[in-house]
Symmetry: C2
Subunit: 240 residues, 2 copies
């Protein structure tokens, strides 16, 4: 396995450490879309020098989170809902394809994949978790498992990239109890379909499931941004 695909790479470099700190600040909305800053500021804040900071910043730039203005500072890239839609579309494609390909799996492997997911999602409503962060993590695990079942490591890698890119809006989806309930119900329903060999049915449900999540996340993101800064400007397009 290559270094970049390790699930939780324990930072041994300062660069990785700074990278993870910045990413967490992005996800926690401590760095808001449109915010501008300099390398020196980040260096001071993290205690590292500009060298590893730059390494982290350029990585985040290539991943699409930041943008650098030539000799004129950095900025958090505004949320582009068109791009997020495109990423959701790609995510659906990868997950649907993976589900459809599960048809070729042996019953044994199939069972091996479904069992842990059923244990997590087919539980009594009274025993469900309500911790948004926990649910978000489990949800990601659910969808990654489906893609992993495809057996194609590149599917997994790209899917993980896409997931990371949309996580900033997706995780908000689990702040509403009704959405958590829907997630439990829809995951259980998909698992049922897979159990009885309804791969196409499961794939259809998946698309609907993700689409709903996308729409909800979009709404919640707009609300969250309005709270994070009382005023926000729209440049006339779908970017904020």
């Amino acid at each position: 396995m290559s270094t970049q695909t390790q699930s939780r790479p324990r930072a041994q470099n300062l660069a990785d450490s700074v990278y993870q700190q910045l990413k967490s600040e992005l996800f926690e909305f401590q760095l808001l879309p449109g915010d501008r800053f300099t390398e020196g500021e980040v260096a001071d804040r993290t205690g590292a020098s500009r060298t590893p900071v730059r390494q982290a910043l350029y990585r985040l730039q290539r991943e699409g989170f930041l943008a650098v203005n030539f000799r004129n500072g950095w900025e958090v890239r505004p949320l582009d809902f068109d791009q997020l839609d495109a990423l959701y579309d790609l995510r659906i494609l990868l997950e649907q394809t993976s589900i459809r390909r599960m048809e070729k799996l042996s019953a044994e492997k199939m069972n091996w994949i479904l069992l842990p997911l059923e244990a997590r999602w087919k539980v009594d409503p009274a025993r469900r978790s309500s911790d948004a962060r926990q649910i978000a993590s489990w949800d990601e695990e659910f969808h990654c498992s489906l893609v992993a079942a495809s057996g194609n490591p590149e599917f997994v890698r790209v899917h993980a990239e896409v997931t990371d890119r949309i996580q900033i809006v997706r995780r908000l989806d689990f702040t509403q109890p009704s959405r958590i309930a829907a997630t439990y119900q829809e995951h259980a329903s998909m698992l049922d379909a897979l159990r009885r060999g309804g791969f196409l049915e499961a794939a259809d449900q998946l698309a609907t499931h993700i689409e709903c999540s996308r729409v909800e996340a979009r709404k919640l993101t707009l609300l969250k941004l309005q709270h994070a800064r009382r005023e926000f400007v729209s440049d006339g397009g779908s970017t904020i």
Copy 2:
């Protein structure tokens, strides 16, 4: 358009310049899979200092071309045919999906997409190009056009990444005249199918077309590597 998706970014930084030089050396087999080198060597060779060199090296690392050994130099990652197969698989998925979605395009847009491709590929055999590099470039253009027709910029971006990653073996496919002829024939056939609305048919042809290319490229890569270094070692797996 984001910086990273510019088709041919004219390097204004030394880092980009070094990046492109190294990548070209990789594609030209001047840097062979398994080769080891240090940052200082690259700095001397390119005339830049270690700072931009490191930026370029880390970029190539995250793109999967290189690997860094902690305080112990860099190496060109060996060709992993399993990974290449996975990448081909992903490429087929993206292109097939794009083709199937062309069904929803208006006749006008469809024509706008097909016309330049037909002008290039539906030509008299006597007027065909035989320049491997030229054909490789046109072939890439052909497949990228199909994905671009999907209208999803993220499809395009990921497809471009994948294409870049497999280019090192794919371009060898056009060193054989028979393969060039097959490429012309198959592209023309697919364009015909698309003209008469046979989207599924075209998608099927595409998969076969890419599969053939993959198998041929694999064979030729092994030959090329044997020529580039008289001896080569296999570590028992499918990596070289």
